[in-house]
Amino acid sequence: MRRKIAGIVAGIGLTLASGTSALAQELTIFWAEWDPANYLQELVNEYEAETGVRVTVETTPWSDFQTKAFTEFNARGDAYDLVVGDSQWLGAGSTGGHYVDLTDFFKEHNLGEVMAPATVKYYAEYPGNSGKYWAIPLEGDAVGWSYRTDWFEDPKEMEAFKAKYGYDLAPPKDWKQLRDIAEFFHRPDEKRYGVAIYTDNSYDALVMGVENAIFSFGGELGNYETYEVEGYINSDKAVAALEAYKELYQFTPPGWAKTFFVENNQAITEGLAAMSMNYFAFFPALLNEATNPHAKNTGFFANPAGPDGDQFAALGGQGISIVSYSQNKEEAMKFLEWFIRDDVQKRWAELGGYTCHAKTLESEEFRNATPYNEAFYQTMFKVKDFWAVPEFAELLQQINQRIYPYIVGGEGTAKEALDALAVDWTETFKKYDRLQ
């Protein structure tokens, strides 16, 4: 009997020993399900070839991404060693103790200068200007626009446009032109529509779209240092921006009431819309003839300026953080050291990743690599983001509740919606003791 027990114990011991040694050779990165995650998998395969450490990029659909990641964090689970989290998660990730503090790592490798400044500010630092870093900028992203060059360059269209609006038909330089062009191409009888914009109110899609307008109109969501929102989010500029966004909504294809990146790319691939808003990360698919029959006739432009010449774009993109409940933190740290190497960042860009590495971004090679890289490069220096506080999801819910009925349902006025939002946000910030 004793021998039997000894045998079983030895067996269990062996299993455990081999189990842990196998674990040490593996890392799991959690990200959303989209093309860049596939590019990242290709990149980390090269890490495996180099070091023998197997890295898996595990993905889940975007709609589920936040919920799944935070369910795992809240359960203190170690399923993921690293997570490529949204910029607005920084507050919740850091104050909740889910992310490993990377400040020393950041300073040691001088990442504040190695990576583009806007990406460091929005993907890595929390709270703002605190000098505390929780992530390494991994995928830079912002909202840009694609458009149908064949529609824009059609001599008949150009002539008709000039006759109607008094200036040449070309990619819009400001939001006024964007509106005019959308109106011009909006022909429901021909099943052609003016513009595709984000309208999904379940997470941050609609808000991202509206931010593009608000920021370029010179508006702000609030004061990110004092958390004051009254007079910011309901300023005249923000109101005008929201009105402009609503105006665009009338030039969208039918049924455009729950749309995000998939639908907006479809607007181009299906030949529905003249222009479409989307993250740069989704543009590679538009140049691929297998996925876009109009690939040859698709062009790109950066988010146009507002009436006063301000030009900004809503920030997308993510930084990579180490999960504090991971069993493989040291191994993860080694991986990050590899990831920030100049040659790896260059390779990341080649594979299709939007590197945040300043040197790579600035290189002629990168900027000329695709038709949209130049627009991306320019945009990454004029991006702004949503609140990154731990209660960001409540703030998102409140803004969605206020602006969606106005934009899609046509209820009330922009001023009423934003005034009510200012009250909601003020209450929320008071609830969390950020405002007196």
């Binding site: 936040q66 935070f70 809240n74 909740g96 049924g255 455009w256 009431a257 969606y404 009925p405």
Partner: protein
């Protein structure tokens, strides 16, 4: 021939040899079930009741502070939550009423001798065998204003079923009616086939009209089983989530459970969402109680 309700243990059996009495066998079956119920149902229920009185957030390390009835007070004073209640009530009424009318109607049609009755009944049951998510996804395609078959068949042009804030909730209800009418139909069929034939014969002899027969014989006798179907469907419709969540994201279709999901798993307001879940539970229990009382009254008749 009579049979015992409890099968006696054969003295020669393995269990008897090991000395397992009827009692221990019963315990063996029942105790795990009760344990399971306590661990997975009763404990979470009580635990979340406690959380509903705190400001706990699962996404932070901050401890839960007891705040009394504040969550309940704030929720019941929130106009958006009241709006969610109104939406849910509208949805429940439209969807359950639709299912009863369609389901009972089809059952009446099927309650006669027609060829291939079994096959037709089985085919009619198909919708409720599908997964909610799948039904949601393909109805989204059916409703599509550009290429959806519904607009094409009805000649509605580019009518926006799901993008139109006033129509979206009804579009979701229509999908639910399509999916769950077969359930009402099935129960109604069982009820209808149990109505004694001689009652109809007596009514025919008395020259009762078909409407009279329906309201005085068919409906009262089927009512108890129909009530059960209504109770089930009301409870389900009240907590509906998948269909509405997949089909559309209109604020006019944000039923309570969607709001609850967002509050609990997107905003991580754990304490407050527990309170909302309790409010929902109380409402469902109250509605069900009213129904059950009514059901008992119907049965007594």
């Amino acid at each position: 021939m009579t049979t015992d309700v409890i099968t006696r243990l054969d003295p020669q059996s393995h269990a008897a040899k090991r000395g397992l009495s009827d009692l221990s066998i019963r315990n063996l079956f029942i105790i795990p079930t009760i344990l399971f119920l306590i661990v997975f149902n009763i404990f979470p229920l009580l635990y979340s009741l406690y959380y509903s009185f705190t400001d706990f957030r699962a996404s932070t390390n901050a401890p839960a502070n007891f705040i009394g009835l504040q969550n309940y007070r704030e929720l019941l004073n929130d106009p958006f939550i009241w709006n969610n209640f109104v939406i849910t009530a509208k949805y429940v009424i439209v969807s359950v009423a639709g299912q009863v009318v369609v389901g009972f109607g089809v059952a009446l049609l099927l309650n006669r001798d027609i060829p291939y009755k079994g096959l037709i009944t089985t085919l009619l049951l198909l919708p409720m065998m599908l997964s909610m998510a799948v039904v949601g996804l393909f109805w989204k395609l059916l409703y599509d204003p550009s290429f959806g078959i519904i607009n094409y068949a009805l000649g509605l042009g580019t009518f926006e079923w799901l993008a139109n804030p006033d129509m979206a909730l009804y579009a979701v209800a229509i999908t639910d009616i399509w999916m769950w009418s077969p359930f009402v139909m099935l129960l109604s069929l069982a009820g209808l086939s149990a109505v004694p034939k001689h009652l109809y014969e007596a009514a025919a002899i008395d020259r009762a009209g078909s409407l009279y027969t329906f309201f005085r014989i068919t409906l009262p006798l089927v009512a108890p089983i129909l009530m059960i179907a209504i109770i089930f469907r009301t409870m389900e419709a009240f907590k509906t989530f998948d269909l509405a969540y997949i089909l559309t994201s209109q604020p006019t279709t944000e039923v309570l459970s969607i709001r609850l999901y967002k509050m609990a798993f997107q905003e991580w307001q754990t304490g407050r969402s527990c309170a909302l879940a309790y409010i929902m539970l109380i409402v469902v229990v109250a509605i069900t109680n009213i129904y059950v009382k009514y059901l008992n009254k119907v049965k007594e008749r």
